[in-house]
């Protein structure tokens, strides 16, 4: 690795650059059936990497080696064509539209395949689809667009809003992250890539498509290919987007007066006289003043959440310019992108000295260059750079504060204009605007080179590639502190007391995150040849990578991959893939794993007896099936096979000795036993599916996949070892999960007159069940993990509200759960029937937090250059737990926590039947506030995930303007949501609600090509 490989690659390149000439000059023109010339048709000399594309007038010129040469024409949406050169020197070629996507080429692991003959479960998404969604983070554009993909957005914070992606649901409790491969090289994430740089995205789902990744392939793979240049005149693409982000859902708090009335009830319900604790709020005069709002300083009514969160929204802008083009020898794609996403918090404008606002800013640069060195060699390079800046207080806990800040305790400002505060609550606005800031910068650059050698002189169809990639990520966070005077105005005495003291703005320090260097090397030997009706392809790959993260021990991975494909007459298809790779995570004897898979396909419509049906009803029907083994080497930590001893000087593992300055010898502690036999997690995956195109012109296309998976040997510590042995269990390959599901994509396209319309439906259902998690054998079955999905919620099963004291007396005692139980409180199920409600009565409630069902329906219509598409996307069969300020009234007893609209439906003796909420309690540890089925909500939602209306200027006008294409569009994301959860976003994953809210984006954009 390192520099040597570069030197060798370079010498290879120099030694051959001056050589290689072709002999015959050919020219020609390519047109469609209507006689219009086609621009950008790729023309390649068969079995070589050389070629060209047609220019704006559909013309091309190319040198070929001899008269036996064949040229291959490919163009998206058209049937590819092969022409023998023979004695012709000028070609007039007509290409026919395929009107389907089957001739498209799909990017697969270490290569490409023709969509029609793919036998694995692979879905793809193109650049144009990615760009329809105006979200800043490209991971969120995938939602609803790919069958089998489940996404959950964690947070709306600019720069930290990655969606968590699960391919076909969750099958392990250890690592569920799919492998991300960008241009053939593993990357930790693709969230910060400029979507304008992406050509296509392939999601590999079944074992046959991921087995070559072996030990890393169990959770599926996302392959990203970036755009590359094609020879022709320079093409410039400019796009600009201006958007507005707004929180999707905001909790609705009650006014001071309403909250105090309810607080009084809550105190009384807990047997406490409210005036003995908070004498000032509950006097008749005070309540009257809160009701009328007559004295907003002494009796304030401040909704801190809406004061702090910009209701009008925050802007977002994104620009990209890219240029592509080239000659036969050099092709290029160069892209420069900029994104700025402003934050939703108010108050930054008060600060003149520095910028405390939350925002995210990103520059992306990419230069992909392909050099044709000689007849046998091409060199593809990419140089990418990315610079990210995250400004402002990065603590989502702020939102916890806003949720908990009571509207009646302090005004924002005192009458004298100073910030108000109280001994137990600081002023959120002052805290944000005058509380210092932080600036986190992350930079990344990546250099990648691939040298392709055409070895057809040795064996026809043989290619040898070398890829080297170097990637460096580094950055730092600078923090600045600041504090401002805040005062409490005593309403009785009118005396100001200082609460926080001014501290000057000062630089606190800079912390450097661990720089991460990733180096990868890959060699690929590929063979593809057609013998009459036999299509044979083979790929052999060696790869290794090394990741150096700060001072940590390097992460190293190496392996081989092989794939053989065979097709007979495009009818009978078979593929065998093998991965053989190793991970440093395991001991020497258990490092390398062998991961085989196979898949077969049968294209029924290629059979002669289908001929009549094919032309009219079923143009295409393919059945396919696959089975294979893949692995996952990721554990909870590194080197889990080794015994663990921890060393520490702190009090927990050391013990000080001495008098005035006690010291320690240091402490060594045995943490767990070793298990040299520890090895990777395995997934045995099965998949069957079919792809059909029905009716004339493929009006209807249907893809269905049914899949299942046996996940075994999940890494975990034994849970049935007695702790009296004094030692923790080693990590063992114990856990087992079975998951299964179905996914489908159905698309209908049609054209009536000038109107083209389409309707796409995508649905994924994937569930899992834990088969084995080493539950202690004596554990009651309802508490065991086995038999339930991963992440199953557990808590008390609510049987209803207690309607009267007699019911409470007769029911199993709930006193031990905390607080006074009164009519209107939640009645829990006594699962173990011992007459008292304890932890042992907790059962599985609801489901897990990961949706089992995701779906989308996308109608689209285009007419006269207008194009409208709306994606309705939904998810469901999951649960969301609410707790803390998001769930309960007065989440922190008397001093913090609020009441929202939801709690207005509290139980009263007068209205026992229609109550929608239990009795109110000030006690934050009250029985009602334990996790229970009442507070667990169904996570189902349906939302307008994305919508776009675009207008493409007619080609004639474009030509007059001197541009090739001009498109304007308005689009949006998360435009409307239907859900039972109306105070938070239904994708919220944090039960307490202290998370930066998810956003809707309203966007206008322009895209120009010239």
């Amino acid at each position: 690795m390192k520099k040597h490989s570069f030197i060798i690659l370079f010498s290879l390149f120099v030694s051959t650059i001056l050589l290689g000439q072709n002999n015959i000059q050919i020219t020609g023109i390519v047109k469609d059936v209507k006689g219009e010339s086609l621009t950008g048709v790729s023309i390649k000399i068969k079995n070589s990497t050389q070629g060209t594309v047609t220019d704006l007038n559909g013309q091309f010129s190319l040198k070929v080696p001899d008269e036996k040469s064949e040229i291959v024409l490919t163009y998206i949406g058209f049937n590819s064509k092969v022409e023998l050169v023979g004695n012709r020197r000028y070609f007039n070629i007509q290409m026919t539209e395929t009107a389907n996507d089957l001739d498209e080429v799909v990017v697969v692991a270490y290569g490409t395949q023709k969509k029609a003959t793919v036998t694995g479960a692979i879905s793809t998404m193109k650049s144009t689809e990615l760009l329809k969604n105006p979200v800043a983070n490209v991971t969120n554009s995938l939602t609803g667009s790919i069958p089998g993909l489940v996404t959950v957005q964690q947070s709306g914070r600019p720069g930290a809003d990655d969606a968590q992606i699960y391919i076909r649901g969750v099958s392990s409790w250890v690592n569920t992250q799919p492998l991300i491969i960008v241009d053939g090289v593993e990357q930790p994430s693709f969230s910060q890539i400029d979507p304008n740089e992406i050509e296509s995205l392939s999601v590999l789902k079944d074992a046959s498509s991921t087995a070559v990744y072996g030990i890393r392939g169990a959770n599926g793979v996302i392959l990203i290919s970036t755009k590359r240049g094609a020879s022709g005149k320079p093409k410039v693409n400019l796009s600009a987007n201006w958007g507005l982000q707004k929180p999707t859902n905001v909790p609705k708090f009650l006014s001071s007066y309403e909250q105090l009335l309810l607080k009084k009830i809550a105190y009384t319900n807990d047997g406490i006289d409210p005036t003995s604790i908070e004498p000032t709020f509950f006097t008749p005069e005070a309540l009257e003043a809160y009701r009328t709002g007559s004295d907003p300083y002494r009796y304030p009514d401040v909704n801190w959440y809406s004061e702090m969160v910009k209701q009008e929204g925050a802007p977002q802008q994104q620009y990209n310019v890219n240029i592509s083009g080239g000659t036969q020898a050099v092709k290029y794609f160069v892209s420069l992108g900029y994104l700025k996403q402003d934050g939703l918090l108010n108050g930054a404008e008060l600060q003149k000295l520095y910028d405390p606002s939350v925002y995210f800013q990103r520059f992306n640069f990419r230069s992909n260059i392909d050099l044709t060195i000689n007849k046998y060699q091409t060199l593809s390079t990419s140089i990418t750079g990315r610079s990210e800046k995250r400004n402002g207080n990065q603590d989502d806990k702020l939102f916890y504060g806003y949720l908990g800040y009571q509207p009646y305790s302090i005004p924002i400002y005192n009458p004298d204009g100073s910030f108000a505060a109280m001994s137990r609550s600081f002023n959120p606005l002052a805290g944000f605007a005058f509380g210092g800031t932080s600036i986190a910068k992350t930079n990344n650059y990546n250099l990648q080179a691939t040298l392709r050698n055409d070895l057809s002189f040795m064996l026809k169809g043989l290619n040898l590639d070398f890829t080297y990639s170097f990637d460096n990520t580094f950055g730092s966070t600078k923090t600045y502190s600041d504090e401002i005077d805040t005062y409490f105005l005593n309403p009785q005495t009118n005396v100001y007391t200082i609460i926080t003291n001014d501290n000057p703005y000062s630089y606190t320090g800079e912390s450097f995150g661990n720089p991460v260097k990733r180096m990868a090397f890959q060699t690929r030997l590929a063979y593809a040849e057609k013998f009459k009706k036999h299509d044979v392809r083979a790929t052999l790959v060696y790869n290794q990578q090394q990741i150096i993260r700060g001072a940590e021990i390097p992460f190293v991975l190496m392996g081989y991959a092989a794939r053989g494909e065979y097709a007979y007459a495009d009818k009978y298809l078979a593929e065998v893939s093998l991965g053989y790779n190793g991970s440093e995570n395991f001991s020497a004897g258990n490092r390398f794993g062998f991961f085989p898979s196979m898949s077969i396909g049968y294209v029924l419509t290629e059979e002669l007896f289908m001929e009549s049906l094919k032309n009219k009803w079923i143009p295409f029907l393919k059945f396919r099936g696959s089975i294979g083994l893949v692995g996952s080497d990721q554990g909870q930590d590194r080197f889990l096979y080794m015994a663990k001893y921890s060393t520490s000087n702190n009090m927990d593992s050391g013990f000080l000795f001495g008098t005035t300055v006690p010291t320690t010898n240091g402490g060594i502690k045995e943490d767990r036993a070793s298990n040299p036999l520890l090895t990777w997690e395995t997934a045995l995956k099965r998949n069957i599916g079919f792809e059909a195109r029905l009716f004339d012109k493929n009006k209807l296309s249907i893809n269905v996949d049914i899949f299942d998976q046996d996940r075994k040997d999940i890494l975990m510590q034994g849970r049935s070892t007695l702790v009296s042995s004094g030692i923790q269990s080693p990590y063992l390959n114990l856990g087992q999960v079975y998951s299964s599901g179905i996914e489908s994509q159905i698309t209908h396209r049609n054209k009536i007159g000038k109107v083209e319309y389409s309707l796409t439906g995508i649905v994924t259902y994937a569930k899992n069940v834990v088969k084995f998690k080493d539950d202690p054998y004596g554990m009651p079955a309802y508490q065991k993990d086995a038999g339930y999905p991963i992440g199953q919620f557990r808590g008390y099963q609510v049987l209803g509200f207690f309607q009267n004291q007699q019911e409470i007396n007769d029911a199993p005692s709930q006193l031990t759960l905390g607080g006074l139980i009164i009519p209107g409180d939640l009645r829990y199920q006594d699962t173990d029937e011992d007459g008292i409600i304890t932890e042992r009565d907790q059962v599985a409630i609801g489901r897990s937090s990961t949706p089992e069902l995701t779906y989308s329906i996308t109608p689209g219509i285009s007419l006269y250059g207008f194009d409208l598409s709306i994606m309705f996307q939904g998810a469901g069969l999951n649960s969301i737990a609410f707790s803390g300020p998001a769930g309960f009234e007065f989440s922190d007893g008397s001093s913090a926590g609020q009441v929202t609209e939801i709690q207005k439906g509290y139980w009263t003796p007068e209205n026992p039947i229609n109550s929608t909420y239990p009795s109110l309690h000030i006690n934050s540890k009250h029985s009602n506030k334990n996790i229970n089925s009442f507070f667990l909500k169904d996570g189902d939602y349906l939302r307008i995930r994305q919508a776009q209306l675009s207008y493409k200027l007619a080609p004639k006008i474009c030509r007059q303007l001197g541009v090739e294409e001009l498109r304007m569009y308005v689009n949006g994301s998360n435009l409307f949501t239907w859900s039972k959860i109306n105070n938070f976003d239904p994708e919220m994953v944090k039960s307490t609600g202290d998370v930066y809210p998810q956003q809707s984006v309203y966007n206008f954009g322009v895209n120009v090509n010239f």
């Binding site: 137990r424 190793g582 080794m642 015994a643 009090m651 060594i668 007695l722 004094g726």
Partner: protein, 582 residues
């Protein structure tokens, strides 16, 4: 053309195969550099001594080990900010997460420490230890810590599996039934006697070894173990021989003539070493080290331990409060309990308890241990008052607005006055005291009183009454009036109270009450709090104390004298049978 072809082939082959790093599986031999193994530990003294010293940390010796609750919160001494603690409501059991630090963690940690001691005792001969004295010390420490950890287990659970060898869970049958309590006591006493007999530990520790076990600590532990063994919970037949053994064990410590009461009771807890401390867990000074600061995460050099329990009047968080039940146990200045105030007034009315002015004329240890209304602390007069019903006004600064403030009492014992009101600075130490001479005197008094009554003594030793008088004289409290301590039974009452007062908040009372089998009497009770009303009549301000306001009905059932073995451990075992009632 051929040249190109061959160049490509040759260079490709070179590239791929001459790079030895490529294709070499040895590349995956990545390992942490500090690769400690059991073999290395027992063959390298430098590693061994670190391994051995760490065993001390399994002994619960950390007031803040349960974060927001302390042991005094279990019984009737204190209450927490949050309330509803399962030990108070009777809601604890072997799977409750809130009590796990006292149940599951103690079970797990004790056995982890016991394993380490067993390993050390089994393999010490293989360790190249420089001197015999050091080797003895390591043996002595392992014996001492093992006995201590078994005491931590037995005082909670009674019978527990006694394991004195290193188990290999992958090979051995580790599902061991519980060993009878008395058998464990015999093993503990034998180990501790061996320490004394073979002089495995030192009598006088050099300064740098403060914190280690000594002969005195081994004897103090033996005294505690035998006292617990003699108490009603594990001595249902009231076998007097057990009491004799306990009295003798306490006298063994007294008779060393090494330890003496420290004159300044209030500051005893801030001494690094002193005549009274038999064994402690040393801390670095307040703000610079985990120690008590890690009660809550220490940040910016602030000592949050004090801040956690300090009242809002000091800018604290009001995390803990002292109950009226605890306050009521402090006698008046005549030495009478509050219930006997009539009798006390007949002795000396000027020193008797007055319910209208409840904080004067009290045992000096009250002021040393508790903050209350009107008391001056850190140059501030504490204000726990609330407005008289119907009168306007705001709550006193120390009363604040949190529920726990309803008690109107805070902790003073672990809060050095010099630190009050500021949360940084390195002014003092707060070492955790495992054994102090005061406890030994009480151990002696309790055991000997059961053997022969208030005036009896072991051969050559002081009488029960004498040691109690000595203990009380240190703070200026008069001796226990004979009127209320004339016989074994009345004296037992006073001795129990003396345990409660002298050792309040020191993690004794809860376990003492359990071992006396008196949980229903003390803990199945109403917990009271106090309101101090500030009544304004014209220019006169009068304070009205209501010290009998019910706060919560605490629940304690007879079976709770022994803890439940953690459910999860029971689930794993075929041989472990839980204590009855759980």
């Amino acid at each position: 053309m051929k040249t190109i072809k061959y160049t490509i082939i040759a260079l490709s082959i070179m590239l791929v195969f001459t790079r030895c790093e490529l294709f070499d599986p040895a590349m995956l031999n990545q390992q942490p550099p500090m690769d400690i193994t059991e073999e290395k530990i027992f063959s390298d003294y430098n590693l061994f001594k670190q391994y051995s010293d760490q065993a001390y940390s399994y002994i619960p010796g950390h007031l803040a080990r349960m974060w927001s609750v302390m042991v005094p919160n279990f019984g009737d001494e204190m209450r927490t900010m949050t309330g509803g603690y399962p030990f108070n409501t009777g809601g604890w059991n072997g799977s409750n997460a809130l009590v796990a630090p006292e149940i599951a963690t103690i079970w797990t940690n004790s056995y982890a420490g016991i394993r380490k001691c067993n390993q050390i005792l089994e393999r010490i001969d293989q360790v190249p230890i420089p001197t015999t004295a050091l080797k003895n010390r390591h043996i002595g420490e392992a014996l001492f810590i093992r006995a201590f950890l078994y005491h931590e287990l037995t005082k909670r659970w009674g019978d527990v599996p006694y394991i004195d060898y290193t188990q290999n869970p992958q090979v051995d049958d580790i599902d061991i039934a519980r060993t009878p309590y008395d058998t464990i006591v015999a093993r503990q006493v034998a180990d501790l006697d061996r320490i004394s007999a073979e002089n495995l530990l030192l009598v006088d520790l050099p300064d740098q070894d403060n914190g280690r076990a000594s002969i005195g600590a081994a004897r103090a532990l033996k005294s505690r173990i035998l006292l617990y063994a003699a108490r009603p919970l594990h001595n249902p037949t009231n076998d007097i021989k057990k009491w004799e053994a306990a009295a003798n064990a306490a006298f063994e410590v007294i008779n060393m003539n090494k330890y003496a009461l420290y004159s300044d009771y209030k500051n005893l807890f801030f001494q690094t070493t002193c005549s009274e401390i038999i064994m402690n867990r040393p801390r670095k000074s307040f703000n610079s080290e985990g120690g008590h600061n890690d009660f809550l995460t220490s940040s910016g050099g602030k000592s949050l331990w004090a801040r956690f329990f300090a009242s809002e009047g000091f800018g604290g968080w009001q995390g803990l409060a002292v109950t009226q039940n605890c306050v009521d146990r402090f006698e008046d200045a005549n030495g009478f309990p509050l219930a006997d105030s009539l009798l006390s007034r007949s002795v000396d009315p000027t020193k008797a308890y007055n319910s209208k002015d409840p904080y004067t004329n009290r045992d000096p240890r009250f002021k040393a241990s508790i903050l209350y209304n009107g008391r001056t602390f850190a140059n501030r007069t504490l204000d726990y008052t609330i407005p008289y019903p119907g009168q306007a006004g705001v709550n006193g600064a120390d009363r604040g607005v949190k529920l726990v403030n309803l008690f109107s009492y805070n902790l003073a014992k672990y809060w050095p006055e010099s630190m009050a009101g500021r949360w940084s600075g390195t002014s003092t130490y707060l070492n955790y005291i495992f054994f102090r001479y005061g406890e030994i005197l009480l151990n002696y008094a309790e055991a000997q009183n059961e053997v022969g009554g208030p005036e009896s003594s072991v051969a050559g030793g002081p009488s029960v009454r004498q040691v109690l008088t000595e203990l009380r004289a240190r703070v200026g409290q008069p001796e226990i009036p004979v009127q209320i301590s004339g016989d074994k039974n009345t004296m037992r009452e006073r001795i129990w109270n003396e345990f409660a007062v002298e050792l309040c908040f020191e993690e004794h009372w809860w376990y003492d009450v359990l071992s006396w089998k008196a949980g229903e009497r003390f803990f199945n009770t109403m917990i009271y709090r106090t309101d101090v009303y500030k009544k304004i009549t014209g220019s006169n301000v009068t304070l009205i104390y209501n010290t009998k306001i019910p706060f919560e009905q605490a629940v304690f059932k007879p079976y709770m004298h022994l803890y439940p073995i953690p459910d999860n451990e029971i689930f794993k075992s075929k041989n472990l049978i839980n204590n009855p009632g759980w």
